[in-house]
């Protein structure tokens, strides 16, 4: 352990929990207080994520922060575990939550009750899932995240949202039950819920315990893949995401990454380097998801639907690449994860600005705005008139162009670098040493390039239809607060491309951590308690 105790590890869970709970004391009309609390919470989350990242990445001796809840001794305590991967995911979540929240303050937080609180509780669940080192705790944080997401997906109301929302909730409730069965089977066979202890004992099981453990892990994998939206399990994702409010859909792009994170964490922790979760199955599923999402993007009539398919495309690419279970490709895929999450998140918000005029949901929004907005909204609307963005169309068009470059994977932005890194990993120099069969590599390379071409065709068509030769001239009424989030995310993507060197170094170190589970075991099982504690010698 490092010199300072690891108390900071629990901050990403406590900060949004306190902020979200505190907001419930204020009426929904007092939006300024809620907004201020939201921003304080998210900005401190960003700072905390950066601090954790600095401690685990540049730290002198420690690779990970382990926080023993209740100061119980190591394998007994439920622990929180923050290594490079957790820190990266925490930072990504906070960096996407900030623009999404800013975007929501313009219109969406007036369209229904408790948006700010639900948003904070969603962050509690996501951050908790990234940090926990205990299987049942992971289930609890999944449920916190899902409960908040049920409320968020219906935010804004209307029959358009309720039907896909109902399917989304039903599928996730059944998935939660599978999670419980899986966790119970793992507990029944291994006798522990601590991820480190499960990994430690998984190799030496005998008799019935071994098939029981494998069945349990398969069920857990199924749940994670449902969350990630892998092909036959992901049909709920597109209808649900394409009706969700813009900022909600933007933060939901992280939600599907939670499934991928959990899968990656658990699969590589167990002996066999991903074999326990059937790396081959995950590769095939990822490839199928890529094909399905590509066809979906081409077939989509509305931009928002296409955008939801981009979430699937990103999931498919990640699953197919992680399915190879090679350190070099894992590092590249992590870079892709960062780039695609920001790009798709920004795209959801951009598309909402463009499609708002003809959107059927916007009529509903107008009604609910009146119902919930009260008298205060009118005065705010008056004040807002002066801030309408000048030459909004030009800014949006440039933003659309840059985001398209990232989504297609054209130079010079981060989308290109990410795909280039994955392709270099599988067919570049050093690829001879990979322990992957040639057909798999060829399939992945072809699919990656083809999905880029598909994205190019679809986005070109959208661009021409919206900006170049629109049927009726588009004059979006867009305010500065709605454009700033998109520009912020674009700035992040540009920074990701400029600082690709250091970021890639971080990813390579992360992948090295992941592919060496003994580091995780050593950190968790060797964690020391914070003195003084009862019954111990000081």
């Amino acid at each position: 352990m490092g010199s300072a105790p690891a108390h900071i590890t629990i901050a990403p869970i406590l900060i949004p929990l306190l902020a979200g709970a505190l907001m419930l004391f204020f009426e929904d009309r007092e939006r300024r207080i809620k907004t201020a609390l939201s921003f304080i919470s998210i900005v401190s989350l960003l700072v905390v994520a950066a601090l954790i990242l600095r401690r685990v990445h540049n730290g002198d001796e420690t690779l990970a922060l382990v926080y023993l809840i209740g100061n119980w001794p190591a394998p007994i305590a439920i622990n929180l575990y923050a290594d490079r991967l957790s820190a990266i995911m925490l930072a990504t979540t906070a960096a996407l939550a900030l623009p999404a929240m800013l975007f929501a303050t313009e219109r969406w937080d007036k369209a229904g009750p408790h948006l700010h609180s639900m948003f904070q509780f969603l962050l509690v669940g996501i951050n908790g899932a990234f940090l926990t080192g205990d299987l049942f705790n992971l289930f609890v944080f999944f449920e916190v995240m899902l409960a908040a997401s049920y409320g968020l997906i219906l935010h804004g109301g209307g029959a358009v949202r309720v039907r896909p929302g109902l399917h989304y909730i039903a599928i996730n409730l059944v998935a939660s039950l599978f999670f419980l069965i899986g966790a119970a089977l793992v507990f029944g066979s291994v006798g522990s819920l601590n991820l480190a202890e499960i990994a430690l004992r998984a190799g030496s099981l005998e008799g019935f315990a071994r098939p029981a453990l494998h069945t349990g892990l398969a069920l857990l994998g199924l749940v994670f893949l449902i969350k990630a939206g892998m092909w036959p399990l992901g049909h709920w994702l597109v209808p649900a995401y394409s009706v969700a409010a813009g900022p909600v859909a933007a933060i939901f792009t992280v939600l599907s990454k939670v499934g991928i994170y959990s899968l990656l964490r658990l699969a590589l922790l167990l002996p066999g380097d991903g074999a326990a979760f059937g790396a081959a199955v995950i590769f095939i599923g990822g490839a199928a998801t890529l094909i399905f999402a590509s066809i979906g993007i081409l077939a989509s009539q509305s931009m928002k639907r296409a955008c939801a398919y981009f979430v699937l495309l990103s999931s498919g690419t990640l699953l197919a690449t992680f399915g190879l279970s090679q350190p070099s490709t894992t590092a590249a895929a992590l870079y892709y994860l960062l780039s695609s999450t920001f790009a798709v998140g920004a795209f959801f918000m951009l598309v909402e600005l463009l499609e708002r005029e003809q959107d059927t949901a916007s009529d509903v929004l107008a009604v609910t705005l009146e119902a919930y907005g009260g008298g205060e909204a009118e005065t705010e609307a008056d004040a807002e008139v002066g801030k309408i963005m000048p030459s909004a169309l030009a800014v949006l068009a440039i933003g659309f162009g840059l985001l398209s470059l990232v989504l297609i994977g054209l130079p010079p932005l981060s989308g290109f670098l990410a795909k280039f890194a994955i392709l270099t990993g599988i067919i570049g120099p050093g690829a001879e040493n990979l322990t992957v069969k040639a057909p798999i590599i060829v399939t992945l390379a072809v699919l990656l390039v083809l999905s880029g071409v598909v994205a190019l065709v679809a986005l070109l068509r959208m661009g021409i239809r919206t900006f170049w030769a629109p049927v009726e001239a588009l004059t979006p009424r867009v305010t500065v607060t709605e454009t700033a989030p998109i520009l912020f995310l674009l700035g992040l993507l540009v920074a990701l491309a400029i600082f690709a060197g250091p970021v890639m170094d971080l990813m390579v170190a992360t992948a090295a951590d992941l592919h060496d589970p003994s580091r995780y075991l050593k950190a968790v099982l060797g964690a020391e308690r914070v003195p003084p504690y009862a019954g111990g010698t000081p």
């Binding site: 049942f136 039907r163 039903a170 059944v174 939660s176 039950l177």
Partner: protein, 112 residues
């Protein structure tokens, strides 16, 4: 004992799955409830079935673990029940909203 529990879990889970696949929202809710009973019993049985053994250890003297039943699954079941209860209640609200907005209790919001 084992046989009775196994048959109970199997019956509950089977009925639950059949109901979850039905098109009416009410069937869906009852199906989810039955499934969650099955899952809760299953978690409970994963701590091995024992009769007349206490789960709470007496810390005063030396503890013989064989005299006790595993307390962890009982704690897990408790958590699972609470969470399942909350999410089902939330789901019920959504179902009522859906019924109000679409005028039908079909899960797709319209009769086929």
């Amino acid at each position: 004992m084992e046989l009775v529990i196994a048959i109970a879990i199997g019956t509950l889970a089977g009925s639950g799955i059949w109901l979850v696949l039905r098109p009416r929202t009410y069937q869906l809710v009852i199906g989810l409830a039955l499934l969650s009973y099955a899952v809760n019993l299953f978690i409970f049985s994963m701590g091995r079935l024992r009769i007349n053994a206490a789960p709470v250890l007496d810390g005063a003297q030396h503890v013989d673990p064989t005299a006790y039943t595993d307390p962890l699954p009982q704690a897990l079941v408790l958590t699972a029940i609470v969470i399942g209860f909350a999410t089902t209640a939330l789901f019920l609200v959504v179902l009522i909203v859906s019924r109000g907005l679409t005028g039908t209790d079909h899960v797709d919001g319209r009769e086929h």
